[in-house]
Symmetry: C2
Subunit: 336 residues, 2 copies
Amino acid sequence: MSATIHRLDNREPSLEPMLQLVAGDMNAVNQVILDRMQSQIPLIPELAGHLIAGGGKRMRPMLTLASARLIGYTGTRHHRLAASVEFIHTATLLHDDVVDGSDMRRGKRAANLIWGNPASVLVGDFLFSRSFELMVEDGSLKVLKILSNASAVIAEGEVNQLTAARRIDLGEDRYLDIINAKTAALFAAACRISAVVAERSEGEEAALDAYGRNLGIAFQLVDDAIDYVSDAGTMGKDAGDDFREGKMTLPVILAYARGDAEDRRFWKDAVEGRRASDEDFAHAIDLVRKTRSVDDTLARARHYGQRAIDAIGGFANGKAKDAMIEAVEFAVARAY
Amino acid sequence: MSATIHRLDNREPSLEPMLQLVAGDMNAVNQVILDRMQSQIPLIPELAGHLIAGGGKRMRPMLTLASARLIGYTGTRHHRLAASVEFIHTATLLHDDVVDGSDMRRGKRAANLIWGNPASVLVGDFLFSRSFELMVEDGSLKVLKILSNASAVIAEGEVNQLTAARRIDLGEDRYLDIINAKTAALFAAACRISAVVAERSEGEEAALDAYGRNLGIAFQLVDDAIDYVSDAGTMGKDAGDDFREGKMTLPVILAYARGDAEDRRFWKDAVEGRRASDEDFAHAIDLVRKTRSVDDTLARARHYGQRAIDAIGGFANGKAKDAMIEAVEFAVARAY
């Protein structure tokens, strides 16, 4: 199987070109991140560092930096703002782990299991406040507006997801609303703010926003698909985690919609927490295969990936654009 | 017993004059609060409304409004900002209840007991984001700086308190650092921002900041004293709550410092969670009386209260100033 996007060379799509494109800028961003997660209170850098230093691809700040390259921005304001975006994301992860009761995060024990839920909640709050301090230092009200709005949308999406939890009748539309809010909104904002600091047109802002948003949706769809195919370790996440938590993701939504009465009973039981054994997960994999639900989740991801690529079609060709296109290809190919 | 500040009339000090002073403005603030806690996701206004509509004196927005009166500001920008301050405070309360595992808040069941910790964490995040959106709408980078800094300081203070939990050797200085951060910083910011929107001098800003900060410390000290004197119901908080949670507050710090070896053993055991029965609490009350620890906690509160009053000495006399002075007197007299 391959993505709908064909590469001229036969190389597997990779994040490498984007990593190289932004390597110099990313050093500067990492410096800001390390500087600004410090505090007189030792627990703060300790806990934040566990997550921030401990891996993760810095996908969102990377998108800020790549977008700046795409539009030829030559300043340095985006370094601070990229760090701000990463702080928002890290705060969200810390709170997510408390909300989900996760065991693992980025291949390590989740912070709340080591330091407890209270510390994760409060250090998340600290990083969130710090992210706003960084934006205020930059001084663009427009950037502040974009990122404060994204933050509110993320929180709203998380609450939406919480109230949708264990509801087998969720449906694809509401699921898309949720991932749009909890994942794609920050991807979109991360890209858009580069156009703001570079003082580009509304049209260019919107194009970068669309690139980030569609990539974010594709990214989340693939993440949700991976839970039904991958071995433990991929993205630091165990296969079957979502299943065992009764999480409503697109593979489940499709398998439920396409299943017979018995299958539907199984999914309803699973989502409501009455089926979470290894045998149940094996049966879930069978049903998902039978209904082609993972394949079609990935097909949806490719649709959004293609939209992301087309959104930046109008920008000048070159290294930055190639890297951003390949990043999308990589995102949608992760599950293979 | 009476506060060190003497009134000419014999009336008990009351919040009433301040409530009357700001009544009209507070209606406008309440409208902003109600409008802006709305969301497509019903759980958000439901949970937020439980706390926001459900009482609380709106102390912090009231201080923003009273400060604006004191300096003769006649605009309306402070309405939105006062709502923003209340949202920060509400977000903090929601997260605090998760951190502390509180049963009661403002005389009602804590939100996390009704809707669960995940909902409290996420709705807190939403309100926090919303508070920044309100600031961005106002558009003052200076206000954004003051409030984002206050937010970071609050979160830092909460983490400091968490790491100080159950440490009998905390000491008065570190305790003051903690309440300065977790309570007084937002009181100070709430007052200061009125001077910013009114475009007053740095000196006037600093005077209002000092009023709020010292009042905040006094307020927290009295709150901590009340736990060792009041009947259930005062401030919606049960007497003995802090004791049973092993919270390090000034009455404990003083009683420990002033006690004999046996008393110290008792306090250490209590703070480390080995003494939390009703008999233990009765014994704690005895020790606190014997060492005059509540009385002296209240004496400290009067000291900060006096500083708050003197901080606004330079402003014109009148209704606003009288109300702000009486609010301090009320705050320090609450425990009698």
